[in-house]
Symmetry: C2
Subunit: 418 residues, 2 copies
């Protein structure tokens, strides 16, 4: 089946799904979770095929991401059940006004229609994305990577089975089985069929989607996150936050990549930060962070000399670029020039500096005295997330269920004309 | 100056404008309005050049749209002043939550950054768009059509002068003087410079923008609006609403193009509607509406036989396609297949039918017993509008000041790590 055939079938079910109530959609999610559990064996068998095909082609780390176990499938099912506990994002009255002419205007949240997702990640994204789509009343069309195609087919088959058991059409969740570049292009250009395209994966995939999409597309995920340690920083907070933001999970987009430090604090603080990121970790047998230092930082601590691109790179690794500045203004200017608009943090006890920073820094999440690692749907209280938007149109930051909705105006009159 | 040079200058002023308070932005609008009034003579002289160049090339109607008069310039200035009376769309706290770990998360409205607009319309769009952009803290880059280039240059010069008098940079409002296709393409593809592109004009322009844009773009304006006259319609309301929606201003996007009528009501109502749209107007010396009838309607009233495309055409003229259906479901299916998602209306006294219609019809504005002509920022109480979005991402329906904003999350902590 071509992507266009698939989309032609998917759009037929928009109205059916949009008309369901929260109970019906929650029931579908429970059936989908059951189906995942019931089909554990076939999903594991399919996953074996992917693992075998990957042999010798991808790293052990990547292979571990691809591998499913009974526990991981149970966790996927649990995550689907978890979504039933979130509030209904549909039918929210966002605004009500009665005009002088008697027209009653209501702005009501509705599904977007068809969500398309192109992703490279682990097979659990297939069930996570399907669950959030169904809960928000959206038909979804999922195109995962070729490395996980057998796993994704088995997972999608189970989810579709669950939908049917719940009395919904299986085509409310569609998997694109063709994992060629052509199928991605077809999704990106399917005007009138796809209401929102979400790419989720590496920077190359996201750039390709944003540049080639003719359908509404959300730019997600790239995070060159900065921490600015102000002259008035509390030393303990600074060390602890930098350490957490850099080392707790360096491969994720909300990890910090760049440390900017006030020259007034650098002499005292850089050695303490280096101790936490490098010396202590080495002593504990952990991977030490490679510090890539500008010339001023290099006068205070040891490290690698920062190269031309080190302040514009999402390392996703135990690497951190370090720059010393003379003022808050210089830090803000550096961030404006180098940030991807994801998450930035100031560490300071000076509330005026904090206010200036949060007002001037134009990123999805701007922190005062807390780790950038909190930029996450769950941590923000959204309960879940479909990705982190780094653009400003429609959704910014973690995208929960509400960000998967649109709205319409319902206007009730009694014969009004203009 | 190339478009990229212009954009490189424009982005420099994003932060400056974003940091202004409402008073400063309102004062800038007052200075811009004064400057329009003070430069009336030079704007009129520039407009004369456009009118002379248009001689023999465009219709009298189009020439009238292009022509400025002292009164029209005064009206433009008044419209700019009007915008100062609207509430500040920036700094709205959209959500506040304090998490268990003590993090205080605020979601606050902020400007998008740089708005680009490509338009073909009358010169007053230049001042309207600039006023809404400045009020919402956005730098704007405006590219009007070549037929109005001299007028637009003179208007933009005045507006920029006003900005400087108010202590803001003139580059907060930039006019692209190159009106070639290349300059439009440059705006559509300026990733990282343009935060939202709004095309405003004919269907061709909008399609070209949506298909070629690599920057976030809002699809606007095309309206194939339907009125469904239900079996339970009130005859008087039906005639009055259809007449208003079709004839009060047929050239605008919220005018109705298609009448769908229940077979149960058609025998009684079609003759009455024809009388109002055709016979009465002829008797009054007005342009009669050409009714393009499906075969069932043609058995009841006289008119032209509807052709293949008549149910998929935005006539923007005194033409209306008419179809008879047997049920509400058939009407809803017709609308799903042919609507552009702008505005649709049901005329009925049956609240169950009304509820079904507003729930099933997937358009920006869905009416019960009122004219589609109300789909307008002013009529919806937004005070103004930048266009009518017919897409579901970011903004749907009339786009007022709030639709020209994004948000950011501001997170204040006390050393929290994850």
């Amino acid at each position: 089946m071509t992507v266009m055939d698939l989309l032609s079938r998917a759009v037929l079910h928009k109205a059916e799904l949009a008309a369901t109530d929260n109970d019906k959609r929650n029931n579908a999610l429970l059936c989908m979770a059951d189906a995942l559990r019931e089909n554990t064996d076939s999903i594991l068998a399919a996953n074996e095929l992917d693992i075998a095909a990957a042999e010798g082609k991808i790293s052990e780390v990547m292979k571990d991401r691809l591998r499913l176990t009974p526990e991981r499938i149970a966790a996927m099912a649990d995550a689907v059940v978890e979504v039933t506990r979130l509030p209904d994002p549909l039918g929210r009255i966002l605004q009500t006004v009665t005009r002088e002419n008697g027209l009653k205007i209501e702005k009501v949240s509705v599904p977007l229609g068809v969500l398309a997702m192109i992703y490279e990640s682990r097979p659990n994204v297939t069930s996570d994305a399907a669950a959030l789509s169904i809960k928000s009343g959206n038909v979804c069309v999922l195109r995962g990577g070729k490395e996980a195609i057998n796993s994704n087919k088995a997972i999608a088959a189970a989810l579709r089975n669950g939908l049917e058991k719940a009395g919904l059409s299986a085509d409310c969740v569609c998997l694109v089985e063709d994992t060629s570049r052509d199928s991605a292009t077809a999704l990106m250009t399917a005007r009138g069929y796809v209401d929102m395209l979400i790419p989720r994966g590496g920077a190359g995939l996201i750039r390709s989607c944003v540049e080639n999409a003719k359908v509404p597309c959300i730019e997600t995920g790239t995070g060159i996150c900065h921490i600015y340690v102000d002259a008035a920083a509390d030393m303990e907070k600074a060390v602890s936050i930098v350490k957490n933001a850099k080392t707790s999970r360096p491969s994720v987009c909300n990890a910090a990549e760049v440390l900017i430090i006030s020259s007034a604090a650098a002499e005292d603080l850089l050695p303490a930060i280096k101790k936490a990121l490098v010396d202590d970790r080495t002593a504990e047998g952990l991977v030490p962070v490679e510090l890539r230092l500008d010339s001023r930082a290099a006068k205070i601590i040891d490290g690698t000399a920062a190269g031309e691109n080190d302040f514009d790179t999402e390392f996703l690794d135990y690497i951190m670029a370090v720059r010393v500045v003379d003022s808050l203004a210089e830090a803000i200017a550096h961030i404006a020039a180098h940030s991807t608009g994801h998450s930035e943090c100031i560490i300071t006890e000076d509330s005026e500096s904090a206010d200036k920073f949060v007002s001037a820094v134009d990123s999805a999440a701007v922190y005062v005295n807390a780790s950038t690692r909190f930029t996450d749907g769950g941590e923000f209280g959204l309960g879940c997330e479909m990705g982190i938007s780094t653009q400003k149109l429609h959704a910014r930051g973690p995208m929960g269920l509400c960000e998967l909705t649109s709205y319409k105006y319902i206007i009730r009159g009694n014969g009004q004309i203009r």
